[in-house]
Symmetry: C2
Subunit: 383 residues, 2 copies
């Protein structure tokens, strides 16, 4: 092997990830050191065959501090070249193997422009999405078309009422795929038409966002056909389809649709407070990097279990500086109720999407009127 030893000649540019590590201190320090190896060479340090690999490829701990009892924060940087030019490999360096070890939590990360140049990110972002719906002085209003089991015709009638009542973003429930009792093509056609009809009456720009979560060889086609049918955006669950499948749709010039991102099957990443990926890094930064324009997550105090500070962390990840990537809209959801509108406006401010599902059906049979009531509440509390 020794006849001609190549030399790495990396740029020296590095990206930075912040991890929260379980302690005591010596164990947390060992974890920080382990990340440097496990996420790059995955090889016993003493056996690394070339000095330049040791010097240039390994992660490096640049800061280490206690943040709570038996909990430490390590800042680790990696050469941008280890992440290649692909989201899949960037995720691998950030949290591939250490996902399998207890006591390692990815808290957040910072990518230099040289690395972000390989990532197109959100196609519209907050400013683009606001421009399309023509609303900039209040939170956007959203609801979901459900329950599963209704026919496309019935769902279209719901969509019409919602759009008539002033909802901005009407998304499919994430469980509506392409089932025999509600085919994607029929649904998209009927609901796009219904929303267009309502828009013609109201003068608003409500968007219908069908769920295009699908096999990787169909997802782009579904997004394109949704656009052709008149849909104004789409819904994707990257936990089901893969983050890169969402990225691919966001990058598609022919589909050219804003994306709402749904959290289905992502929950396990945040469940273990000592491990996994922090809420802001996952729902904020990673979903944004993967092309979401708005990111749905379970609001505090609903039927899920996120805390206020976890929700704040998502807002941070959705809006923090990430080079050329625009901020995206946080979309709290999950058992939300009309009577919390004032509270939610106060907590999230206007730069949010308020997603209210089942509760819009609870206030009498006139869905449009229920939506108007929500719209009035939100308008009132956004002044």
């Amino acid at each position: 092997m020794a006849q001609e030893t190549p030399q790495l000649n990396l740029s020296g540019e590095r990206f930075r990830a912040i991890y929260h590590l379980a302690g005591p201190r010596d164990e947390a320090e060992a974890r920080a050191h382990d990340i440097c190896l496990e996420q790059t060479v995955e090889f016993p340090e003493d056996l690394i065959p070339r000095q330049d690999i040791r010097e240039q490829i390994l992660g490096r701990v640049t800061a280490f501090e206690a943040i709570a009892e038996d909990r430490f924060q390590a800042t680790i940087d990696f050469p941008i070249e280890t992440a290649g030019e692909e989201l899949t490999q960037l995720l691998n360096v950030l949290f591939g193997n250490i996902s399998i070890k207890p006591g390692y939590r990815l808290a957040r990360f910072h990518l230099p422009d040289s690395l972000l140049a390989h990532h197109t990110g959100p196609r519209f972002g907050r400013p683009g999405l606001r421009q399309i719906v023509g609303v900039d002085d209040r939170p956007l209003l959203s609801t979901a078309i459900k329950p599963m089991g209704l026919s496309p015709q019935e769902l279209a009638e719901y969509a019409y009422q919602f759009a008539l009542g002033g909802i901005d973003l009407i998304k499919d429930d994430h469980g509506l795929a392409d089932q025999s009792f509600c085919r994607f093509a029929d649904r998209v056609r009927l609901l796009s038409d219904a929303v267009a009809r309502a828009n013609a009456e109201t003068g608003m720009h409500c968007l219908y966002l069908p769920n295009v979560t699908a096999p990787v060889d169909q997802i782009v086609d579904r997004a394109r056909s949704a656009r052709q049918a008149g849909a104004g955006g789409c819904l994707i669950s990257p936990g089901l389809a893969g983050f890169d499948a969402m990225r691919r749709v966001a990058a598609d010039d022919e589909a050219d649709l804003p994306i709402m991102c749904h959290p289905a099957m992502l929950g396990s990443f945040t469940m273990d407070p000592a491990g996994g990926i922090a809420h802001g890094a996952l729902y904020g930064q990673i979903c944004r990097l993967a092309g979401a324009d708005a990111v749905i997550f379970p609001n505090y105090g609903g039927r899920f279990s996120f805390s206020q500070s976890e929700c704040r962390d998502i807002v941070r990840g959705a809006t923090c500086s990430m080079g050329h990537l625009p901020p995206i809209l946080p979309a709290p959801a999950g058992g939300m109720k009309l009577d919390r509108a004032a509270e939610l406006c106060a907590f999230y401010g206007k730069e949010s999407v308020l997603l209210i599902g089942g509760d819009l059906h609870r206030h009498g049979p006139d869905l449009a009127e229920n939506c108007r009531r929500l719209a009035r509440l939100v308008q009132e509390h956004s002044a």
Copy 2:
């Protein structure tokens, strides 16, 4: 809406999922009931607008029993139609929204042939992979090409030595993607050639499996180009690329390659003992459904933290009856050492792949000889 009410006319065929739910009993019962709604209609039960939806679409608890203190097992069945014809939506019904709620763990599942008919599963499975490598009397031997930072030429020399020494499956380290210092195309060409050269000397049928984990619009092309370059299989990390991306490669007639599945970024699913997805359901059943022919997981007693019983659960999931899907090979890995060969042969039996990485470099500079030593140990303990 009432002018003409359509009626669902589902087949009545249902698939079954087993969940472990945190208790006490009344809470666990509430969780079981919640799954029936949350994973299908995601709608308040009292507001479901049609009786046939209530009767035909919802999940049903068919068994409920205590399995430990404050821990209950619920068997829940769902109409096959809710899962559509797609892996993405099947995953959604099994564990989409409830992934975000604490205290719900998917333990295992059973799919009827009518649902499995939509899923091609492993292209080769255990019998097919054994036939290609021409070994049926012992565990297969595997190692990883690393560390990241070596040139394709250097990695090819390692691969040659490993193949010469009797390794059956030589895979890329999962961190080798398409980085500037080690391009995919160069690596695949050189390593495929190196392994072919060794095979010509040994008369064995060692396979080289490059890592094709990549953006969704490139992964199939990488697998096809790997085959064209002479690679005998490929490595995919579904946690990075998405389960359906692996499924797509497995289904590709032009690539036609056995797949080893790597656990990168899947770790969070099993980390919370009260939540997530059980080891056997995730690494066994779901990876198998998504087309893996062999599944890599962290062995007990290595540098990761799986227990013996969790490893046994993976073997169960890899080999249990799943209709037309062949069994696949469990591939324990992660800090494995030569001196554990006897123990591993006893624990896993011959129907396994023993994956030893860094430790093959620890026993002197003659890698081929180190491999021969491993092969002798395994042969001896597989008699």
